[in-house]
Structure formats: C-alpha cells, structure tokens
C-alpha cells in the first residue's frame, strides 16, 4: 500500500520543530507500524536525509519504550502499543499524522523521542515497598487473598509508556500513579508506607508539571494494558485517607 505520512521533525530539545510530509510506497499489511517507519528510514538514509528518531526496544508490547501519537490517538487506533500495531489497521492511500507524546513534563528530545524521566522520579518518591535485600520473611508467611492479589497484578501490568499522559486533555499522569498506588496498596506488604507513598508521589507529579485529573477517561481508553479508571478513584481515596491522617 501507499501512504502519506506527516511526521514531526525536531532536531533537539531546543530546536523549533515542524511537520514534514513523506510519501511511502510498498508497505505490506504484515508490517508493524514501526517496521513501516524502519523502511522509511532506510529510504531517507539512502537519499541522504537523516532518519527519523523514534523510540522502541522490545517490540513485543511489554517494555513501554515506544509511543507515538498516530492520527491523534496514543499508540494509534487499536488498544495496544505502537510496536504491536500492524499496517493492516490502515488502508492504501491513507494519510497518517505522527507526533510525539505532547506534555511539558515529557520534553521532546528529538523528532518523536521524548524524555519520560518524570515517571522515574515519581517512582523514586514512593513507588516501592522498602524491603532491603536479605530482610525478607519467608514468602508464604503472609497470605494474600486471591482477589487482592489479582487486582494488584492487574494494575502492576502498567508498562510506564506514557500513553495516559499523551491522551489526557489535561496532561495528567493520574492513571500511571493510580496503577502503582493500587498495585502496592492491595498487598499487605504495601501497607506501612501507604500514606506517605501517595502524598509524595502526588507531590512529585504536581512538581513535574503534569495536569490535574478531570476524570474524562481518555487515559484508560488509550492504555495499551487496559488499566481501568478505578485506579484513579483508588489514588484519590488514598490521598484523602492520608489527608485525614494528617500527612
């Protein structure tokens, strides 16, 4: 198939970017979206134009590295990661607009690559359970009810790709935080630090310049791991509890 691609090009963080249009022919529907960009890059390289920078690593939908805004949707039209999107979701003659995640807390590094270091810093502020190596009790000494374990697991599937932020009209990272709060909060091991965790993570979130949540739900719809909106409810509840406890 033949495609027209409008792609954001930006030399570096300080540069002014612009949309540029490329025509690409010979795309097969079995290609993944990123393989389609690989083909374009090979052609650009041959023509002497610098290839388009974009992030990807595992290309099997689990590492969370890739992430493009495709025709106005984070990770494109399917509920999956950009690397697992295949060209059979498009048709011959389509025009596709490709942009980086847009959020001031995710500054553009180059072309379609952004810096998501803010997520790491949010985790640094409490997205963990403090358990020094060697200090752990026997694993089966604390049973975890299966429903709680299951909910914890479901929220732990977040891959930290940033699609929630990209899709949110407010540029909020509430879904990301909510997933972590719920993952750790459902487990008995996560209780001692629960109040401090939510307060510090939210504090860092606000400091990074993410917006506040207005419960619109675009994040959950864009999430390739289908993290549900109720984690934001959990996040709010935990914050309210912490507030009550005087944190």
């Amino acid at each position: 198939m033949k495609l027209t691609l409008n792609i954001w090009r930006q030399a570096d963080a300080a540069a002014t970017g612009e949309m540029r249009t490329y025509a690409l022919d010979g795309v097969s529907e079995d290609m993944s979206f990123l393989e389609m960009l690989d083909v374009l890059n090979e052609q650009l390289n041959a023509k002497g134009e610098e290839p388009i920078a974009f992030d990807s690593d595992c290309r099997e939908g689990i590492c969370g590295t890739c992430g493009l805004m495709i025709n106005g949707q984070a990770h494109g039209p399917e509920v999956t990661t950009t690397c697992q999107l295949h060209m059979r979701s498009f048709k011959d003659g389509d025009e596709i607009t490709i942009e980086p995640w847009r959020a001031d807390a995710f500054p553009v590094v180059k072309d379609l690559v952004v810096d998501r270091g803010a997520f790491d810093r949010i985790i640094q502020q409490g997205g963990f359970i403090s358990a020094n190596t060697g200090s752990a009790p026997e694993a089966n000494s604390v049973p975890v009810p299966r429903d709680k374990a299951l909910r914890s697991f479901n929220m732990a599937t977040c891959i930290g790709c940033g699609a929630c932020v990209a899709a949110c009209p407010n540029g909020s990272a509430s879904l990301f935080m909510g997933a972590k709060i719920t993952h750790l909060g459902e487990l008995p091991q996560g209780q001692p630090e629960r109040d401090q965790r939510v307060v510090n993570m939210v504090g860092q979130h606000d400091h990074e310049g993410f917006g506040g949540c207005t419960n619109i739900g675009e994040c959950a719809a864009a999430c390739p791991k289908e993290i549900p909106l109720d984690v934001i409810s959990q996040l709010n509840k935990d914050l309210r509890t912490a507030l009550k406890h005087g944190h």
């Binding site: 570096d12 097969s28 529907e29 079995d30 290609m31 993944s32 990123l34 393989e35 690989d38 090979e42 390289n45 041959a46 134009e49 610098e50 290839p51 990807s56 690593d57 595992c58 290309r59 099997e60 939908g61 689990i62 590492c63 999956t80 697992q84 295949h86 059979r88 590094v109 180059k110 810096d115 998501r116 270091g117 790491d120 985790i123 640094q124 502020q125 997205g127 963990f128 359970i129 358990a131 190596t133 752990a136 009790p137 026997e138 694993a139 089966n140 604390v142 049973p143 975890v144 009810p145 299966r146 374990a149 914890s152 697991f153 732990a156 599937t157 891959i159 993952h183 750790l184 091991q189």
Partner: protein, 684 residues
C-alpha cells in the same frame, strides 16, 4: 583413577583431551585456566564457606567506594539496589530511557526456586541436578549449586517487594511445572513474570536513587572499559542525548549488560540489545566463554517478510496442548491446513519421540522444525527459498477442552498471535518457527563472578557461568536475580575490602587513551560516507549467522561463514553510511557501533562453534550425531569451557584501523564434577 581435591572430595570424571582440531589455523592455543576460584569440599558447604571467607567492608568505608554497574535488567538492577542499600556509592548505566525497560521485562514464563511448596520431591539438590543436566554438563557445578541454593531467597525477596506472583485461593503462592521438569517449582505472574520481577528490582533501585546511594545514567551507552594498572577502573560512556563522551571512574565495574542474541539480527531480543559493553571489555582482555552456545526457542511467530525487525516469542506452555505438524507431502504446503486430511499430516515430534512427543526440550523441537522446513515441508509464506514455519494445532485441544478452556489458559498468547499475524488461531492452526532467544555464552567469570580482569565483575546473561550449553526454562530470571541480589554483593566485597583504590583522574594517560579511542571510532563511523546503512550490514550478518551458526552447524558451513563475515566486515568499514552528527541523539550512529562489534563477535562465535566438534545442548554439530540423528556429546574431548582471549592484531590493516582483530587465543577450563555424574540425554 579417581582424583580428589584438597578436602578429599572425589572427582567423578577425568579432564578431557581434545583430539579433533577443526578450528586449526583460526586460533592460537593458550594456557589452560586452572583456578576458577571455586571453593572445594562438599558441594553443599561451598557457598556458605565462601561467604564467610570473603572479607567484609566496614559500613563507614562503603560510601567511599564507587561501583559502576552497566545494565539495569534483573542482574544489574538488583545488584545496584542491593549495593546501594549496603551503602556503596553506585553509578547505574542503561541505554534505555528508564531502568525499567531492560529486556528482562519480556520474560514470560516464570522463575524457578527450590521451595518445594508442593511437597513433590523438589530440593536444592534436585534443582541443581536438573540445571546441570539441562545444560548438558557444560556448566560449572559449584556455580549451579549456589544458584539453586539461593533460589528460595529470591522468592522471599520479591514477595517482600510487592511482586504480585500468582496465588492460590488460600492466598499462598502458586507453582507450575515448566520446561519439561517433573516438579512444580516455577513461580509466575501470569505471562509477565519478567516484567513483574524487573519492576520489583527497578523500584528498589529507584528507592536508592531517592536515598542518594545510586545515581542513574539513562540513555548512556558504555563504549569502552577503562583499565588502569591492569585493573578495571571505570568506563567511557556516551550520553546518547547530548552525544557527550564521558569518563566515569570507579573502584570496581560490573557488567550486567545482557546477551548478544541480536548478532543473528532476528531474535526475540529487544532492538537495542547488544554486545558492545561485553565486547569492549573482551577487547581489553576479558575472556569470552563459549560464545557459540545459543538457545533457539521453538515457539516463536514466524518471519513474515524481508522487512521483519524482530521475532516474538510465545510461551512454551503452548506445547502442552498444541500438536505440532507439517504436511506429509510438499504439494500440500500452500494449501489451507484445514483442508489437509489427517492421514496427510506428519506429527513429526510425536512420530520421532513417542514418549516426550510435543514436549521434547527446546533444542530438539527447534532443530526438528528446521529439518522439516529444509526438507521443503515448511508452511506459511515463502521467505527466500523456503517456507519457514510449522503448524501448532489446537483443534484437538479445543475439541477436548472446549474453546472456553483454551481461552482461559492461553487467551493472551492467542490474542497476541492474532494481532501480529492477522490470523485467528481458534480457526486456523498457528504457525511457529524457532528463533534465537538467549545466549548461554558470555564473558568468562570465576566463582566470584569476577572476570579475568581484576575489578571487572560480570552478572546475568552477560556472563557464561550457570547454564552450560542449554538453559532450562524459568532459569534465566533465577540466575539474574541470584547474581544481583545474593551472589555479587557477597563476592564483590572481598575485592572492595582492598579499596578505596588510588583515585584515577580524567587526565590519567590510560583514561585519556580510552577516551580518545572512543571518540576516534565515532568520528570514523561518521566519516566513512559510503552507501550502506548499518542496519543492512546487520541483516546480512544475521543471515550468515543463522544459516551457518544457528541450529545446526557444520565445519564447512562455519568456515564459509567466517570468510563471509570477514568480507562483510571489510565492506562495513569502507562502505558504511551514517548521517547526522555525533553531538545529538543519533540512532544510526548507535547502531553502527553495535553492528561493528557484532561483526567481530560473529566471527568468534563461528570459530568457537568450529572448534567444538560435538553436539551439546543448543549446539548441534552435524558431524557429531548418533546413528538415528540425535545429538552426540563427546565428554572425552569437550568437557571444558572454551574461554577466548582477544587476539591482538599481528599487523595493522590501514583500511580497517578500528577493526583489526588478531587470532583469538583459546584457554580451556576443565569441567570436573564431584556431585553429579555425566550422562547422555535421551528423549526417545
């Protein structure tokens, strides 16, 4: 006559004596490795004794000691967190934009641990035994025993961190049997065990960042090892965003940089996985051990065309219910499989291995799939001259368990398959094909995980130590975390007890030289100004490697591959085209550096494979098989670790100043077993 060691422990085998010499002319014989620093005595006491013998570092001194850790996967992330907790000053490097993205994240199946929660006869000794046997008796027994010993602690540690392992209704941890073993010792978190374990390690690491003990350097790629007075004292790394070439010095360097499966171009590795950190250390003198030991996983989604950038693994568990077949007749290969009658199907694994059937080990399942395709009975689209795929059919299982039953067990996997191929596996048999998945080879380390370069430690997939010639399912995660959480922190302290070492400044001549060499190499890539992209060279290299150094290897093919790689390397250094600049994010430049190292590694892998004229584990030499075509291991000749020393170039070729590679030197480390007797595998 039985040999005994100092403590009176009896050796069960004699050192082997190699009589064949297929690789003559390609290598130089070197001194054998006599001391791998493995403790002696009864195997069950060795690790305990070593932990006690190893010296301690005063807590007050720890913050004065700097540890560089390259890689943030299970092995690197867990080590960085643990050493940070202990109070060392840790610098953690990764090429990804976050430590959480290291490729350990993609591991699906699970992690083994000798907890014996099922009371089904598991024990440390049985896990040890299974791992050595699974590795086809090509691993060091002391290391493997230690691995089995600490496996239970890993589960405790991970649960305490909040890793959401699967649980039973009573709230206790669930286990499953995995990878053909007869006990249920595998802990899992649905099909995402690697992700959950890595996030646990990542969170522990980030906690230490906030505590100020660990500094992370993301989007940084190690491009050289800094050696001062024969010791590893730091690294040269490139900030991939600004392009700055930085010097980082330390008291000790740990490489936890993963495997090099991407030398095959197509593999289940992530796009960025590379050998550069390990190869640069190798070029500085670290031995590379058993580089040709590659694991090829039988159940991957087949290649669909020339554009393919990577292969996707599907959990081996699919073989529990799916039946593998190809058409009996070549003419049927392009037919709709549903139209091929039962009598025209060849369920070849069930036919050849009646007792194990579809559950034969990975290497056998992979090799037989290749044989079927080589016979012209492969299915799926033509890629090159062959159809590369065999059917994995769930029709019988659906008839037996119902569609809902299959859905419940494998839904995620089948969904993923449909997403990638566009075919519905509930209606049409799936197509699978083997793909490179893991490398057992890696930098040589002693029992303490220290390479032959003092101060350079290597952990996880980057070292060679625990899996022998074949890795069992659910053992990679175990090894990564064992190394990082429990082994390295206990061995590195013996080395650091001599520190802090004399400060190395950036203007030290050896540092300056390393820095300049890195810069010169980068400039070289940008100035060749040829016609071909690094990716195109990589693809060609991968093709050679897969064809001649893949599932089945012959002396003739390997020699051909070596010639081909040398030719390709020459072209690379004269016809490469890298656009852009060195002072910004430049993915083509990164790729060029990685491909340059893969080209050198590929040659060494072929030489190693050529030398090893036996079939063992994942390494099948056509010249060494039984009458009925099964792998024939030759313990009398090859029960040793092949540790290769980088061969300094005899003469400097002016055309390839950056790639001059001399004849490698082979050092052998004999594998002597005292706790286990070597046996031939049989799955008939």
């Amino acid at each position: 006559m039985a040999m005994t060691d100092a403590s009176g422990t009896v050796a069960l085998n004699q050192p082997s004596v190699q009589t064949s010499d297929d690789a003559a002319g390609y290598y130089t014989p070197g001194e054998p490795i006599v001391d791998a620093k493995a403790p002696t005595g009864p195997i069950a006491t060795r690790w305990t004794n070593r932990k006690f013998e190893n010296r301690l570092v005063n807590p007050a001194n720890r913050r004065k000691l700097t540890v560089i850790i390259v890689g943030t996967g299970l092995a690197g992330g867990s080590a960085a967190a643990t050493l940070g907790e202990a109070g060392y000053n840790v610098k953690s490097f990764c090429y990804q934009d976050s430590p959480r993205r290291a490729h350990s994240i993609a591991a699906q199946g699970g992690i083994n641990a000798a907890k014996n929660y099922k009371e089904d006869g598991d024990s440390v000794h049985r896990l040890f035994y299974d791992t050595v046997k699974g590795g086809d008796y090509r691993s060091r027994e002391s290391n493997v025993y230690r691995l089995a010993e600490v496996s239970a602690n890993i589960i405790d540690q991970c649960v305490a961190q909040g890793v959401p392992f699967a649980r039973e209704y009573g709230g206790l941890l669930d286990n499953r049997s995995f990878g053909g073993v007869q006990v249920s010792r595998t802990f899992y978190a649905r099909g995402q065990t690697g992700q959950q374990l890595l996030i646990g390690a990542y969170q522990a690491l980030e906690r230490q960042v906030a505590a100020g003990t660990v500094t992370t350097y993301t989007r940084h790629e190690m491009l050289d090892l800094v050696m001062v007075d024969g010791k590893a004292r730091g690294i040269i790394a490139r900030d991939m965003v600004t392009g700055a070439v930085e010097t980082h010095t330390a008291d000790v360097v740990v490489l936890a940089s993963g495997g090099y499966g991407n030398v095959f171009y197509l593999s289940t590795n992530a796009m960025g996985c590379n050998v550069t950190a390990a190869w640069r250390a190798h070029r500085k003198g670290a031995y590379m051990a058993n580089p040709s030991y590659t694991q090829i996983h039988p159940t991957c989604i087949p290649v669909s065309g020339e554009h393919q950038s990577k292969l996707t693994l599907m959990s081996e568990s699919l073989r529990n219910d799916g039946r593998i077949w190809v058409p009996k007749n070549k003419e049927d290969c392009d037919k709709d499989p549903r139209d091929i009658p039962e009598e025209d199907r060849d369920y070849y694994l069930e036919r050849i291995y009646p007792s194990f059937g579809n559950l034969v080990p990975r290497d056998i399942a992979s090799r037989q799939a290749k044989n079927m395709c080589d016979e012209g009975r492969g299915v799926g689209p033509m890629v090159g001259d062959f159809r590369r795929g065999v059917y994995l059919d769930f029709a019988d299982a659906i008839a037996r368990l119902g569609k809902a039953g299959i859905e419940e067990k494998y839904d995620n996997l089948l969904d993923m398959y449909e997403r990638i191929t566009g075919e519905n596996p509930y209606e049409v048999p799936m197509r699978i094909y083997p793909a490179v998945h893991y490398v057992m080879g890696g930098l040589w380390v002693d029992y303490d995980l220290q390479s032959n370069i003092p101060g350079l430690f290597v952990t996880g997939e980057a070292n060679f130590s625990d899996h022998g010639a074949n890795r069992l399912g659910a053992s990679a995660l175990m090894q990564g975390l064992a190394d990082g959480y429990f082994v390295l922190p206990n061995t590195i302290r013996d080395y650091l007890a001599d520190g802090p070492f004399e400060t190395v400044t950036e203007d030290h001549p050896e540092v300056v030289a390393a820095h300049q060499a890195v810069q010169a190499r980068i400039e070289r890539f940008l100035s060749i100004d040829g016609e071909r992209s690094a990716d195109s060279f990589h693809k060609e290299l991968g093709h050679l490697m897969w064809e001649y150094c893949g599932m089945e290897r012959t002396a003739e093919g390997l020699r051909k591959a070596i010639d081909g790689i040398r030719e390709l390397k020459r072209e690379f250094w004269s016809n490469l085209k890298v656009l852009g600049t060195a002072d910004s994010l430049n993915q083509s430049l990164e790729k060029a550096g990685r491909v340059a190292d893969f080209l050198e590694l590929g040659e060494l892998m072929c030489i190693d494979a050529l030398n090893r004229r036996e079939s063992c584990g994942g390494h099948f030499r056509a010249e060494s098989q039984t009458e009925d075509g099964e792998a024939l291991r030759i313990d009398e000749e090859f029960a040793y670790v092949a540790a290769w020393e980088f061969g300094t170039a005899v003469e400097n070729d002016p055309n390839e100043p950056q790639s001059s590679m001399g004849t490698p030197v082979l050092h052998k480390e004999d594998l002597i077993y005292t706790a286990i007797e070597m046996k031939q595998r049989s799955y008939k």
